[in-house]
């Protein structure tokens, strides 16, 4: 029971409290670069999730074998291996998406989210917990990047997943899908998410106070 509860907590952590994009501000390069269309956001999110889950699992399994001193190069090799796997898989099965994500697929190697989880979680925790942590962080990243790309695609091209959603009279704001739009929309979304998380925490604290009283 307590084990399940703990795993649940790890899961929640990645999606809300320590959301890699909005709370930890990690992995900004792919987040900003490819969030111009929803399908790219989902594709990037899932590719990163795949790498996170497997690199967390393998690093956790090897945590007693890898000497402390060479842990960073070892992480690099493990992560790069899974990135290469995902790169080749995407080239074979979703060539169009792989083409549009381009350079940013091999660059998953240097995504700080993956390093951060390997260093701060997988290297210290048992395999199952690490796997759940990788999955929840990956999903947290996927949700964030999909949200960002949804806002940018709807406002910037008037479509959602390629389908027209805005009325024909809507004039798309081209700046939103250009690089400046990425920075600005992410900044505004971060404000919003921070406000929501703060409100939730406040309510929780008030509730806890009430219970004590």
């Amino acid at each position: 029971m307590s084990d399940q509860k703990r795993l649940g907590e790890i899961f929640r952590n990645g999606i809300l409290d320590e959301n890699p994009t909005f709370r930890m501000v990690l992995g900004m390069c792919p987040t900003l670069a490819i969030s111009t269309a929803v399908n790219q956001g989902i594709g990037m999110g899932l590719a990163t999730t795949f790498v996170l889950v497997f690199s967390n699992l393998v690093i956790s399994l090897l945590r007693n074998i890898i000497p402390e001193k060479v842990r960073i190069p070892s992480f690099v090799v493990v992560i790069a291996t899974f990135v290469t796997i995902v790169d080749l898989l995407m080239k074979a099965f979703v060539p169009a998406l792989s083409q549009s994500l381009g350079l940013y697929i091999p660059l998953i190697v240097v995504n700080c989210i993956i390093f951060a989880r390997a260093e701060s979680f997988a290297f210290k925790q048992p395999p199952l917990a690490s796997l759940v942590d990788g999955f929840s962080m990956g999903i947290g990243f996927t949700i964030s990047i999909t949200l960002l790309s949804a806002v940018r695609e709807v406002l910037g091209s008037g479509t959602f997943l390629g389908m027209q959603v805005m009325p024909a009279s809507y004039h798309p704001m081209a700046i939103i899908i250009r690089p400046p739009g990425g920075f600005i929309v992410l900044g505004l979304l971060m404000l919003l998410v921070n406000a929501v998380v703060k409100a939730i925490q406040k309510r929780k604290a008030a509730k806890a106070k009430e219970e004590i009283a």
């Binding site: 501000v25 690099v76 290469t84 660059l107 240097v110 700080c112 690089p179 400046p180 990425g182 900044g187």
Partner: protein
Amino acid sequence: MSSLLLIIVGGVLVNNFVMSQFLGICAFLGVSKKTETALGMGMAVTFVMAIASLFTYFIQRYLLIPLKLEYMQTIAFILIIAVLVQSVEIVLKKTSRSLYQALGIYLPLITTNCAVLGVAINNTTAIEGGYNLIQSVVNGTAGALGFTLALVAFAAIRERLALGNMPKWMDGFPGALIGAGLMSIAFQGFSGLIH
């Protein structure tokens, strides 16, 4: 010669790493609170990126292509960069104490700066068959100088902002991101420079 000039203008201004390609954003947001540290980081990145372009060119040309191991590119390049960063650190420590003190703390961070791996991969894919040796090194150096330019300019803006009267809810990352967005609009103005 004119192609080299195009690469330089393209790398520094038009396709600026930070402002239009979104490479090296972590470092861009992380070390842009002070102009001095920003300049230090920029110099360290320029140094590593020029050498990394050189080494990855040889690896690609004389190891990966002849052995038909191009699919190992990601693993090979990131290892080279990690080794390179570490050796630059060791060499600097032994030979130039002052430079090491100036750049030392930034060096370990550079391994995970995606601009370095990005430029190495970009060198091999930018044109059919990849850039040649000189073009690769020039591209790496120009890209890094563009990174430095954006980083230092942004740090200067943030220094000013810190003194200004920002609303409290805009403090930290959201405010920084919106500031970066406005700066990126300025950089968009360069996009007509080359076709």
